[in-house]
Amino acid sequence: MMTAIHELKGVRGIISDYKLQVVITAIFFAIWFAFYVLNPSAFTNPFTYTSLMSISPYTIIPAISLTLVIITGEIDLSFSSIMALGPLIMAMTWQAQGEASLLGVILGLLAGLGAGLFNGILITKLGIPSLIATIGTTFLWRGVVLVATQGFSIPLGQYRDSMVFSALVGWLGGIPVQFLWTIGLAIIFWLILNRHRFGAYIYYIGDNRVAAQMVGINVDRVLISVYAIHGLIAAFAGIINTLGMATFWPTLGDIYMLKSVSSVVIGGTPVTGGLGTIYGTFIGGLILEFIEMGVLTSGVTGFWIRLVHGVVIIVALAAQGILRRREIIRARVMRLITTQATQQSTS
């Protein structure tokens, strides 16, 4: 028995949560290798990677803040519409002012923050399940955008030389600035989740909401904040997308709903909450964008993209399912060992 107790101290490495992240990273490199074999010239060309860095932020940025929402055990679908609401407010402000002002960006971000707050209040104060509430607000904000624009796009090409453009979607040392923003946001959100009290509360709420309440955590306030942050970040993603295209499209965000949710899920954040990592989401988003690029450069039709996405999502989820099942068995064994250890110390 003593050996078993001794061994327990040595399993710290196995206990650690990094296994899932290693698997996701391995999947990423497996896909990279597959595409490299299919089309070596495209995947040795730096342009492929700068393109990836230009377009992946639109999926990854909203996925980063969505990770927080999903860790609490909730969901938000409306970010796809908030991705249009934010830049709409920005574009309208710019049109009114006749210049690409910082004020427009700030108002756009505030619109996202407000829309997120509204979600949070619906879910916590009115007790509407998050799936239903955010389906409602998905339609609501998309409707607002469509009514306000009458379905027309707003061209913003005339502001291309402005400071705002270069700060958000310019180039820095050969790297698209939006990718640097993505990395910066990923680091900030990683710090919040792993090193800050607020992040700890997000995990506790997803893990055991009753326990969180019982230790005095204000669950409603944390959830409202998480939704507000997610709204703000979704608006930011919408703004850089709009600037990247130099045009505001009223349908902006629609395609990112499934892509961002998939990034989070591929990244190993279970929809049941309580677990999840920013790193996983980041790699998950890169995987999806990489597939898109890989399929297109392989010379097959774009119709293959969805199919490959589907296969990869299922493979990633299956791998996670196997890991989680093994984890459950391990936990059972460990509980048994600690029970015996307790009995031994008593006797």
Binding site: H196, G216, T338, T339, A341, T342, S345
Partner: protein, 265 residues
């Protein structure tokens, strides 16, 4: 044991719709005293401690803690007043490591709210070693721990927060005999450190060794109260059975019953 009350609940009434869960309960806990709160299912034991911990608000009555009167509490306020509730698995986040669970809701942080992880791990380790719970590293997720070990982590939380009153709601449910023994040792450890505790259990033999005084609830009322020195576990069992059958304490124990409220006589 002092005679000073650490907590006093007066005339507590709690209704859930048309069901009256508590019908004017008076309850107190003294400094450095372990109270065994016993009674049949539905007697109101859990409701009473949930009111004491602020999960439910009473419809009538008042709660006096450290000389301050309250109409109701919240869990946060209860924590601040030095009350900790321990429930079978309920108050742990099992995916998270031991040290995080100990500091849950009361993290040590810098001014910006960033966690001081090393400090927390160190304090968690020190507190766990008082209960001889250092076989597993403090980084171990709680889901890897046995039921008794998990209860130890919760008691360790109470020690770190320097709680004055620890409420244990059925802490020995689903535990093996040896693990139950460990939990009882933890309660003794709390008492040695000058803390008070309320121990709820269906099992007289679990609560008997650790309690100083027994309060028996039946159908939302306190019906009897005894000091341990006056009773054997068998006496207590006999009283409980009599209360369940007839609603009253057997004649031969009536003299020992500390609880003589007008409505009972």
């Amino acid at each position: 044991m002092s005679t000073k009350n650490i907590v006093e609940m007066r005339n507590i009434v709690k209704r859930f719709g048309s069901v009256v869960a508590l019908r004017g309960v008076d309850f107190y806990v003294r400094e450095n005293e372990v109270v065994g709160l016993v009674g049949d299912n539905g007697a109101g034991k859990s409701t009473l401690v949930k009111i004491l911990f602020g999960i439910h608000a009473p419809d009538e009555g008042e709660i006096i803690i450290k000389g301050m009167k309250f109409k109701k509490l919240t869990p946060k306020l209860a924590y601040e007043l030095g009350i900790v509730l321990i429930h079978q698995e309920r108050t742990l986040c099992t995916n998270h490591p031991i040290w995080r669970n100990i500091f849950m809701g009361r993290e040590i942080t810098n001014k910006l709210g960033f966690l001081r992880i090393d400090d927390m791990k160190k304090i968690a380790y020190e507190s766990l070693s008082q209960l001889e719970l250092t076989r597993m590293p403090v980084e171990t997720p709680v889901k890897y721990l046995s039921g008794g070990y998990q209860q130890g982590v919760q008691i360790s939380r109470a020690l770190v927060f320097e709680a004055d009153l620890v409420i244990l709601d059925e802490p020995t449910v689903a535990l093996s005999l040896a693990e139950t023994q460990r939990v009882l040792e933890y309660v003794n450890e709390l008492k040695k450190k000058g803390k008070s505790a309320v121990f709820i259990s269906h099992n007289i033999y679990h609560v008997y060794p650790v309690a100083d005084r027994f309060v028996i609830l039946d159908k939302g009322r306190v019906v009897a109260e005894f000091y341990k020195e006056n009773l054997t576990p068998e006496d207590l069992t006999e009283i409980m059975i009599s209360i369940a059958r007839t609603g009253s304490v057997p004649e031969k124990y009536k003299e020992l019953n500390l609880y003589r409220k007008s409505q009972l006589t």
